[in-house]
C-alpha cells in the first residue's frame, strides 16, 4: 500500500488518464447501531456499487441520473470528501490513499449546488480566499490580495467583492464566488455538483457560459453532476448515465443523444420536455405512456440480475439472472452500455412493464 503510494509506477502513469476510478463502491450504514449489534449484521445501502470511470486532462464529463442514483456520492468520493469502501481512485496513475495529502486535495476542487449554504456567512470573500491561500501556500502572503483580485476578475466579479459578505450577493454572484474559491487552489479537476439547479433560468446561462469559458482558458477537467440533460449537452464532451449506483451507459455527448443504447438512457432522453414539442395542442392531447414507468427501486433492495429490469420495456428472462457488464460494440470502444441487448442486432419487442410493486 505505502509502496504504491510513494513510488509511482512511471510506466503505468503514461497509460492512466488524469483521474481513474476502478470498481469503486461507497456504502452507507442504515438503521441503528444497536440493532446491528443485536442482529450481528449491519444493513448497508449501496450508494455507489462498482463504478469504473476515467476523466482525461481537460475533458468535461457529465454524470447524469435520477436522485438516488449515487451520482453525488460518487462525486464526493472522487473529491476525497467521503471514504470509499471498495476499489481505488488513481490520480495520474498513482493510487490515492484513503487520507489524501494536502497537495492531492488541492488538485480536485468542488463547487456545490446551493451557493447559499456552501459559503461561510461570517467571512468576507477576501477573508475566505486569504485563509485558503495561506493554508495551501499557493502564493506568498504579500501577493494574496493581487491574486484574489485576479481570481475575481476571472469569474466576472468586481474587486469590491473582496470586502463583501456572501449575503450581499445574488444567487448567481454567490455561485461565482464559489467557483473563484474552487479555482484559487489551481486545481486540475473541478467537480461541480448541480451548479445551476438552485438558480433562475436567466442566471443559469451566465454560470454555464462561465464554466465553459474557464475550461477553455485554464485547461481544467470538469466533472459535472446534473439531472438536466440540456445543461449537459451544452457543456460536456462525454456523458455517463448512472442508475442505482452503477454506470449503465457512457458515450461521447453527441453520440449518446443521437444513438442511446441502454433502455434507461432512451427513457431518460424521451422524458425531457422540449420547447418545440407540444403534445397538449390539437391532436396531440391524447398522449402515449410515460417514457419510464414506475419509481426507481430502493438502493437497500437492489433487484437481482440487471438493476433496471423492473422498469425496463425490453426485459427478458436472462435479465433476471445475469447482471450485464459495461460492453461496447467491436468498432466503437468509446460507447459502452450495460445491457444484454445494447449492441445486439435485434432488440426484443418493447412491452410496458407493470408498475413496480414495492414491498
Amino acid at each position: 500500500m505505502s509502496a504504491a503510494q510513494t513510488v509511482p509506477d512511471d510506466a503505468a502513469a503514461t497509460t492512466w488518464p488524469l483521474l481513474a476510478a476502478r470498481d469503486m463502491a461507497v456504502y452507507f450504514a442504515v438503521g441503528s447501531a444497536l440493532g446491528a449489534r443485536l442482529r450481528h449484521q449491519q444493513h448497508m445501502l449501496h450508494a455507489v456499487d462498482g463504478v469504473d470511470l476515467d476523466l482525461a486532462r481537460g475533458e468535461a464529463l457529465a454524470l447524469v441520473g435520477e436522485s438516488g442514483s449515487g451520482k453525488s456520492t460518487l462525486a464526493l468520493a472522487l473529491a476525497g470528501l467521503r471514504p470509499v469502501n471498495r476499489g481505488e481512485i488513481r490520480f495520474d496513475g498513482r493510487v490515492l490513499p484513503a487520507r489524501r495529502s494536502r497537495a492531492d486535495q488541492r488538485r480536485i476542487q468542488m463547487v456545490f449546488q446551493d451557493p447559499y449554504s456552501s459559503l461561510n456567512p461570517r467571512l468576507t470573500v477576501g477573508g475566505m480566499l486569504r485563509e485558503l491561500l495561506k493554508v495551501h501556500h499557493i502564493v506568498p502572503p504579500g501577493e494574496a490580495e493581487a491574486y484574489s483580485k485576479e481570481l475575481l476578475s476571472l469569474v466576472g466579479l468586481d474587486e469590491d467583492a473582496l470586502r463583501a459578505y456572501p449575503r450581499q450577493f445574488s444567487g448567481g454572484q454567490r455561485q461565482r464566488v464559489a467557483i473563484a474559491r474552487a479555482l484559487a487552489l489551481r486545481p486540475e479537476i473541478l467537480v461541480a455538483d448541480e451548479p445551476v439547479s438552485a438558480l433562475d433560468v436567466s442566471v443559469q446561462a451566465t454560470i454555464l457560459n462561465l464554466l465553459r469559458d474557464l475550461r477553455g482558458e485554464l485547461g481544467l477537467a470538469l466533472l459535472l453532476i446534473s439531472h438536466n440533460l440540456a445543461v449537459v449537452r451544452h457543456l460536456c464532451d462525454r456523458v455517463a448515465v448512472m442508475y442505482l449506483g452503477r454506470i449503465v451507459e457512457v458515450a461521447p455527448t453527441a453520440r449518446l443523444f443521437a444513438d442511446p443504447r441502454h433502455p434507461y438512457t432512451k427513457g431518460l432522453l424521451a422524458a425531457i420536455p422540449k420547447l418545440s414539442d407540444n403534445p397538449a395542442v390539437g391532436d396531440g392531447a391524447v398522449r402515449s405512456g410515460p417514457a419510464v414507468v414506475g419509481d426507481p427501486p430502493s438502493a437497500l433492495r437492489i433487484p437481482a440480475g440487471c438493476r433496471f429490469r423492473t422498469r425496463c420495456p425490453i426485459a427478458q428472462p436472462v435479465c433476471e439472472v445475469e447482471d450485464p457488464a459495461l460492453t461496447h460494440a467491436t468498432l466503437d470502444p468509446a460507447h459502452q452500455a450495460a445491457c444484454h441487448f445494447a449492441f445486439a442486432p435485434a432488440q426484443p419487442a418493447a412491452v410496458v412493464p407493470e408498475p413496480l410493486r414495492k414491498e
Partner: protein, 355 residues
C-alpha cells in the same frame, strides 16, 4: 358575461356546477393588484394582472422568482400571506367574485370548485395522517360523504392517479411514499371534490425528469378526461410546452406577453420572453453560447418608469422609459406589452437563419 354576478347571493346552491357556459371563461381575473407592506415601502407584487382561463384549458404562468406568479396564484386561492393584501381587482370564478368573500365562504369554494397542488408534497401533506384518510377528507367535509363512501372514493382516486396497490397503500403514511407517489397523492386530494380548476405551483420542480414526465402525462390525461382547467405556474418553459395550450409571461408583477403556447415560446413578441427562451439550454439544439438576460429583476417597491423591462432590454428606445406599456392585442389571439415587438420578430428570424 351571462347572469348577474354582482347580485347573486352566495350560498351552497351556487356551488353546484353551473350550466355549460359556452365560451365564457371559467376563471376571469381582472386587473388584480396585490401589495405587501414591508419596512422599506410597499411592494407591488402583482400589479394589474388580467387572466382568463377557459373550461378544460391549461394555462401556463411563467416568470423568474419574484415576478409575482406565485403571488397571483395565492391571491386566486385566497391564501395570501398575512402581510399581503388584494388592493383592487376582481377574481371571478364561475360568475362569483371571490375577492370580497369571507374565509368561511372561501372554504366552501376551495375543494369543490378549486384546489391546489404544491411544489413540495412532503410539507403539504399531513405526516401523521394515513394517506387514504387525507384523500377522503375532502369528500367527507365538502360533499357530505359517509366514512365508507368517502373511503371508496379515495380508493377510486388512487387508482385514477396511478398509485399501485391502492387497498394496501390506503393505510400508509406520506413518508412511506416516494416523491412522485406523494405528488400523485396531492393530485388525488386536489381531484377529490371534482373541482373545476386546479392551481399548480411548480408541482414537478422537485421531481426527477422521468417522474416529472409521468406526472405531466397524468395531468394532461386528467385534463382531457374530466375537463378540469389548470393554471400551471413554473419557471421551466419546456414543461409549459408539454402541458399547456396557452401561456402568460410575467415580469415585475405584470403580464408582458400572452398567447398560444407554440406562438409565444417559438416565436416570442416580447424581449423578456425572447431572453428566457435564449438563456434556457434546450436539448434539441446546441448553441455556441447561451445568451443570458443582463442585469437583475426590477425592484417592486420603486419599479422603473415606463416598461419595467427597459433597463435590461437591448431593444429599448427612449419612449420605453416613459410610456406605459399595457398589453396590446396582436393578430392571432396573442398580446404583448412591448412597444417595439417587431424587433423581437426580426431577432427570432435572425436566430432561425443563423442556426
Amino acid at each position: 358575461m351571462t347572469g348577474q354576478p354582482g347580485t347573486e347571493s352566495f350560498g351552497i346552491g351556487s356551488l353546484l356546477p353551473a350550466a355549460a357556459g359556452g365560451t365564457v371563461a371559467m376563471l376571469d381575473v381582472r386587473d388584480l393588484h396585490v401589495q405587501i407592506a414591508a419596512r422599506h415601502g410597499t411592494v407591488r407584487a402583482v400589479d394589474g394582472v388580467s387572466l382568463e382561463v377557459g373550461n378544460g384549458e391549461a394555462l401556463g404562468l411563467v416568470g423568474e422568482s419574484g415576478s409575482g406568479k406565485s403571488m397571483t396564484l395565492r391571491a386566486i386561492l385566497g391564501v395570501l400571506p398575512p402581510e399581503a393584501k388584494i388592493t383592487s381587482g376582481q377574481i371571478v370564478l364561475d360568475g362569483v367574485d371571490l375577492v370580497p368573500l369571507s374565509n368561511s365562504d372561501l372554504n366552501r369554494i376551495r375543494g369543490p370548485k378549486m384546489s391546489m397542488i404544491f411544489q413540495e408534497p412532503m410539507s403539504a401533506l399531513n405526516p401523521v395522517m394515513r394517506v387514504g384518510n387525507q384523500i377522503a377528507e375532502g369528500p367527507r367535509v365538502h360533499l357530505g360523504y359517509g366514512k365508507a363512501k368517502a373511503a371508496e372514493r379515495a380508493l377510486e382516486l388512487m387508482r385514477r392517479v396511478g398509485i399501485p396497490d391502492p387497498e394496501r397503500r390506503f393505510r400508509a403514511f406520506p413518508h412511506e411514499f416516494s416523491g412522485g407517489m406523494r405528488q400523485r397523492v396531492m393530485i388525488a386530494i386536489a381531484l377529490s371534490c371534482d373541482p373545476e380548476i386546479i392551481l399548480c405551483d411548480e408541482p414537478t420542480t422537485a421531481l426527477d425528469v422521468t417522474i416529472q414526465d409521468q406526472i405531466l402525462r397524468l395531468l394532461a390525461r386528467l385534463c382531457a378526461e374530466s375537463g378540469v382547467s389548470l393554471i400551471f405556474v413554473t419557471h421551466d418553459l419546456p414543461v409549459v410546452a408539454q402541458l399547456c395550450q396557452r401561456v402568460a409571461v410575467m415580469y415585475g408583477g405584470q403580464l408582458v406577453e400572452t398567447g398560444d403556447v407554440r406562438d409565444v415560446l417559438l416565436d416570442p413578441r416580447h424581449p423578456y420572453t425572447l431572453g428566457l427562451v435564449r438563456s434556457a439550454p434546450d436539448v434539441d439544439y446546441v448553441r455556441e453560447s447561451l445568451v443570458p438576460i443582463p442585469g437583475s429583476p426590477p425592484s417592486l417597491v420603486t419599479p422603473p418608469s415606463g416598461c419595467r423591462f427597459h433597463p435590461r432590454c437591448s431593444f429599448a428606445e427612449e419612449d420605453c422609459t416613459v410610456l406605459p406599456t399595457p398589453l396590446r392585442e396582436l393578430p392571432g389571439g396573442r398580446s404583448t406589452a412591448c412597444l417595439h415587438y417587431e424587433r423581437c420578430q426580426e431577432a427570432v428570424a435572425a436566430d432561425r437563419a443563423g442556426s
